[in-house]
């Protein structure tokens, strides 16, 4: 990209300001705090619904949605919009079926909810494993994205700049999480959500002003400048190919909608508020914010096509990731102007803040899974409660190291499929067991364990056998071909398998369902009795 020195310097300044502010938050909120598990994993549970709603929105809206979805819309028109819809509708599953009940039954993690009525050790190991898997997949996608994004926005596309970005982001997220725990992470999410919304609102208003508030004109101009004409405004440009492409999108759509309710870093957010009612109200806030945000990404995407032009967006970055920065440059007055420089730098800084906040949220959730579920089940007995938080802090550092390592290894690979895969694994392994635990009277421990592994294993195996890993020029390993499964996203097959495995496991279970513990789970989940 032909980026001038000015906006790079300004963007770096804003990056540094954000990093300084978040480190200050981390230090400030962690002063005089005892290192209790309640404090580290749940931030003391005293956030207000509005604060938590902003934090949920901050956790959910990644740079991939801000830059990626707008870019997809700028390149493919309507087909990019399908993502925006899927990412929002998913929140109804969370609101209606999951948020309140999980808040009432659990303490810190997904496994807490299942262990409330099942044999503790096997379900904790299974749910901990699947949660860590989902988190690591999501984390690597974000880290690699961060590397290429920062390099892209700062002009230098050298390997060294990207490597150092990955290392820097990894180091920062470990510092936030292990020093500040949930309290610092939540405040960082809130700051980031406010910045992201402010940035998106500013750009949306500028786009609408450019077209004098005439949506019709905006859409027609976008269609004209896209080179596709009217087809740009209707589905089919990206997913209209063969049946494989269509099924692939249906699979992805299913994974998006059902996966959100199984993402560990989203589930852990409900424990930061005092009651189930507060959890519900935080989701209502989050839906308002996320819905508004995705509506704006649609305007920004079509705006980029109309103002910048699809061809130019594509020539700057083949995936369309620079559509919004280019749009900002143009809306501010074009390259070289002060307005353009400032807006471009602001967008770059917001994207960076977004990545940092999202990786911190995921790291915290996965360190909770490692310490509270895996370590607590596998350790020697009679260890003290205090040591679990110490383990979580070390786990955060370990996960950071793993993510940096994988991020560096995957630096030059096309990892865009990883986000869809993380959602698919969450939908296949975490959602079925959660729904069964909360709603099915006869569900048993064996059913729970089978349901988790029965979703997790097929999802991962199908991806290894899919065209994203081998057998094509765009694959992870283009040289070899062991492709067997035609779809890039396994959700369409693995989500039903997760539900089926849970059902079969329960039917073949030797032990009868525990009626008393089901009663306890049901009463607690719907009334909040005994909730912490």
């Amino acid at each position: 990209m032909s980026a001038g020195r000015d906006h790079q310097a300004l963007a770096l300044l804003l990056f540094s300001a954000f990093v300084a502010a978040t480190l200050a938050i981390t230090t400030w909120v962690s002063r005089n705090r005892r290192g209790s598990a309640e404090e580290f994993y749940a931030g003391g549970r005293l956030f207000s619904p509005m604060e938590n709603g902003f934090a949920i929105a901050g956790d959910y809206m990644s740079a991939a949605s801000f830059l990626g979805i707008s870019g997809l819309i700028a390149l493919f028109g309507y087909d990019g919009m399908l993502y925006s819809v899927g990412f929002l509708v998913a929140w109804l599953v969370v609101l209606l079926l999951v948020a309140e009940l999980v808040r009432n039954c659990g303490r810190f993690t997904l496994a807490d909810v299942i262990a409330a009525r099942m044999s503790e050790r096997p379900v904790r190991i299974a749910a901990g494993t699947s949660s860590v898997t989902v988190s690591v997949l999501y984390l690597v996608a974000q880290m690699v994205g961060a590397g290429s994004l920062v390099a892209l926005l700062l002009g230098g596309s050298s390997g060294a700049a990207r490597s150092w970005t990955v290392i820097g982001v990894g180091a920062l997220m470990v510092v936030y999480v292990s020093l500040g725990g949930m309290r610092a992470t939540t405040w960082i999410q809130i700051v980031k959500a406010v910045l992201l919304m402010a940035g998106a609102v500013t750009l949306t208003v500028l786009v609408l002003m450019r077209f004098h508030g005439d949506i019709n004109l905006l859409l027609n101009t976008a269609a004209d400048r896209s080179g596709h004409g009217k087809e740009f405004l209707s589905p089919g440009l990206r997913y209209g190919g063969g049946w494989t492409a269509r099924l692939d999108f249906i699979s992805l759509g299913l994974a998006l909608v059902l996966g959100t309710a199984g993402l560990p870093h989203i589930l852990s957010r409900f424990y930061t508020v005092p009651t189930a009612r507060a959890a519900r109200r935080s989701v209502v806030w989050a839906i308002g914010l996320i819905g508004g945000f995705y509506l704006m990404t649609i305007v920004l995407g079509f705006g980029a096509a109309a103002v910048v032009g699809s061809a130019e967006v594509k020539s700057a970055n083949a995936a369309g990731n620079t559509a919004v920065p280019l749009l900002a440059l143009d809306l501010g007055g074009g390259a070289g102007s002060t307005g353009g420089t400032v807006l471009f730098a602001v967008v770059a800084a917001v994207a960076f803040a977004t990545i940092l906040a999202v990786v911190a949220g995921i790291t915290l959730a996965s360190s909770a899974s490692v310490a509270h579920d895996l370590y607590a089940s596998l350790r020697r007995r009679h260890a003290k409660q205090h040591s679990e938080v110490a383990v979580a802090r070390v786990a955060a550092a370990g996960i950071g190291a793993v993510a940096i390592g994988l991020g560096l290894l995957a630096r030059d690979l096309n990892v865009a499929f990883l986000v869809g895969l993380a959602f698919a694994v969450a939908a296949s392994a975490n959602l079925p067991v959660l729904i069964y635990t909360l709603f099915w009277r006869n569900f048993t421990t064996r059913g729970a364990v089978w349901s988790i592994y029965g979703g997790l294993v097929p999802a991962l195996v199908l991806v290894v056998l899919s065209p994203v890993v081998s057998g094509g020029p765009h694959a992870l390993f283009p040289g070899v071909d062991f492709q067997f499964f035609p779809l890039e996203n396994p959700g369409l097959v693995s989500i039903p398998l997760g539900f089926l495995a849970g059902w079969l496991g329960t039917l073949t279970s030797p032990e009868p369902p525990d009626e008393a513990r089901h009663a306890e789970t049901e009463v607690r989940s719907l009334t909040g009795a005994g909730a912490v």
């Binding site: 209606l96 589905p235 009612r277 005994g530």
Partner: protein, 158 residues
């Protein structure tokens, strides 16, 4: 701000952006829920023969709890099935029926745009309806059950 859930249902409503003052007077208050009466002697002094498990079973079988659960499920299950069906229909139509979706409605707006924005609108509406239903039809009864249950299990080894 809801630092602590109180017995008074009016508490903690002030900063709720989705809360509409009108809705509270629409005659759907939960006065009709049969009250769950905890046996007197147990509230005063835990019966050693009763475990926490028995109490949860007892609460689960009570009419008050059954009513709360029925109200929750009667709303949530049809609503969840409806929006999932509507979303899947939308995704399937977008990928398999591009001609239908490309049909013009007004100006540059076609069926696909209307359907997509309709998904946003239906999500917002269902969110509002669910929050309102839970607030008016479920919250108070659930809270009363919570206090009663906690009263009964208090001091009991779990």
């Amino acid at each position: 701000m809801e630092r602590q859930e109180r017995h008074d249902p009016a508490a903690g409503r002030i900063d709720d952006p989705w809360y509409d003052a009108l809705a509270s007077g629409w005659g759907e208050l939960d006065g009709t829920v049969p009250a769950f009466a905890p046996p007197q002697q147990r509230a005063a002094e835990p019966d050693p023969g009763h475990s926490a498990a028995d109490i949860y079973l007892e609460v689960q079988r009570s009419a008050a709890f059954q009513e709360v659960r029925a109200r929750y499920r009667r709303f949530v299950i049809p609503a969840a099935l409806a929006f999932l069906a509507w979303y899947i229909a939308y995704v399937v139509a977008a990928t398999t029926a591009p001609d239908l979706m490309a049909r013009q409605v007004v100006g540059a707006v076609n069926v696909a745009m209307v359907a997509g924005l309709g998904q946003f609108l239906s999500t917002f509406l269902l969110t509002w309806a669910y929050a309102r239903h839970a607030r008016l039809r479920r919250d108070r009864a659930a809270l009363e059950l919570r206090w009663d249950t906690q009263e009964m299990t208090r001091g009991m080894a779990r």
